[in-house]
């Protein structure tokens, strides 16, 4: 029996993979989008903050199906609790706000609903979607195609394609199959934990709390989560502390300037994740293979935000593949390198610059100086004048 052929097989249906698959399918390529999970977005490893611009840029309809709460700005705190308020309802009140004709700056989304919605969009665009399907490996064939081995529930199958898109997240195995250097350094992976809580008030701002005392090597956050809920979380870098994220989160909730605010909080969900505060992978492609999203380390190294960069990176990869696959050119690493070049021009250059900024901050050994640098960088990053507001 012959393997089914697809132009592209996308492994992993998160924001990057589903967006890549949707655009390819819209442009009439045959696409198989697989995910090993039974419920996309779960277990939740993400706070879910994303700018409105990031969604609009890749044609995602903004719908109640996945939005938990609109966001209008930021509150950046230093270790003692002094706050820089960047509230776009005040800064640009005619444009941003809850009223008619005004818009939010961004949203906190439910990743379970969001990721499912993005998969649905890909499916409606014509992609073949399969859950509970795990990629096992792939190999190049003599005819210029490749074979991807899959396991659907307990059944092993294989398909043929011209290109595999590895969108399998931080723990990417697709990159390892191709022998790429995907290893991340311990001082560049934030260990993150967050609680979804009841009984903590928020006011439409993403609140970011800096300071070595609360989140060594990273920052803590309080985000609105809709329906009166909030999420309280933090990320720490293990080389900056001997304690784990759980200890630091308890310390932050019980000892910080927010301890009264958090006094009646009730934990409704516990979520965690590793967030790469690293440079993007130097090489994000191989023969018949391109990485996107977290798998390629397309994560903002200052904020740890990865949804926008995943969506944009997916769109860029789809644009490249649409053009490339319309020709009879091979899909070896030499040809696919141009995809990374296109990504670099649009996003990568900025991400590497942010990585340099972040590296300079955390290279500082003097803790008060480092704290001040992080606070000031965060404050300027989210201001309307920031040169980086688009990523």
């Amino acid at each position: 029996m012959h393997d089914t052929f697809y132009d592209v097989v996308v492994i992993g249906s998160g924001p990057a993979g589903a967006t890549t698959a949707r655009y390819l399918a819209e442009r009439h390529l045959s696409v198989l989008l697989i995910d090993k999970r039974q419920e996309l977005g779960a277990p939740v490893q993400c706070s879910g903050a994303v700018s409105r611009h990031a969604l609009e840029e890749v044609d995602i309809p903004i719908t109640d199906e996945f939005i938990q709460e609109p966001i209008y700005g930021f509150g950046i705190y230093d270790q003692a609790g002094d706050m820089t308020r960047i509230d776009y309802r005040m800064l640009k009140g005619d444009e941003y706000g809850p009223g008619n004709g005004k818009k939010p700056l961004g949203y906190v989304v439910d990743r379970r609903r969001f990721d499912r919605y993005l998969m649905t969009l890909a499916e409606r665009a014509g992609a073949t979607v399969q859950l509970k399907t795990e990629g096992l490996g792939y190999e190049s064939l003599d005819d210029g195609q490749c074979r991807v081995r899959l396991r659907h529930f307990r059944q092993e199958t294989s398909v043929r394609c011209r290109v595999v898109v590895g969108a399998d997240g931080l723990m990417s195995q697709v990159g390892k199959w191709a022998g790429l250097r995907t290893h991340i350094r311990i001082n560049e992976l934030a260990s993150c934990l967050q609680y979804v809580v009841d009984q903590v008030e928020t006011e439409g701002l993403l609140e970011i709390i800096t300071g070595h005392e609360w989140a060594p090597g990273g920052y803590a956050w309080v985000f609105p989560k809709g329906h009166g809920y909030a999420e309280i979380g933090l990320g720490v870098i293990p080389t900056f502390t001997d304690r784990d994220a759980q200890w630091h989160l308890r310390h932050f909730m019980e000892q910080s300037f927010f301890k009264d605010r958090f006094r009646d909080s009730r934990i409704l969900e516990i979520q965690g994740g590793g967030v790469p505060l690293a440079a993007p992978l130097r090489v994000q492609y191989a023969d018949h293979m391109i990485l996107v999203g977290d798998a390629a380390r397309h994560v903002n190294p200052i904020t740890g935000g990865g949804i926008h960069t995943a969506l944009s990176g997916g769109a860029i990869a789809a644009q490249f593949l649409t053009e490339h696959l319309s020709t009879d050119q091979p899909t070896r690493a030499d040809q696919l390198a141009a995809c990374q070049d296109a990504w670099y021009e649009e996003l990568g250059r900025k991400m590497w610059k942010l990585y340099d900024v972040k590296t300079d901050i955390f290279r500082e050994k003097d803790v008060p100086k480092r704290d001040l640098a992080l606070f000031e960088t965060m404050s300027s990053y989210f201001s309307p004048e920031s040169e980086y507001k688009k990523i």
């Binding site: 277990p43 490893q45 997240g169 931080l170 723990m171 195995q173 390892k176 290893h183 991340i184 311990i186 992976l189 260990s191 993150c192 934990l193 293990p238 784990d244 994220a245 759980q246 516990i270 979520q271 965690g272 994740g273 590793g274 790469p276």
Partner: protein, 79 residues
Amino acid sequence: MSDRTPVLFDIGWNACINCGACVAICPQPEPFISPFDTIAVDRPCDIACMLCEDICPVSTIEHTEVTSATNGNQSPYHR
């Protein structure tokens, strides 16, 4: 290949929040992953860098050393 004693990891499964950080930090060149998306627990790790233990947000990874007289499937291990 490290000159450290190989270790077998042990995960407190209910404490695990399935965050994936241990797999992300793991320097093993080949996939070293369990069916539950954690680092592998069914075979010894010969690198024994313990980065997975350091990154775990809830400290739920422990290990036992595997002596040359044993392998990953046999007792006894020692701490």
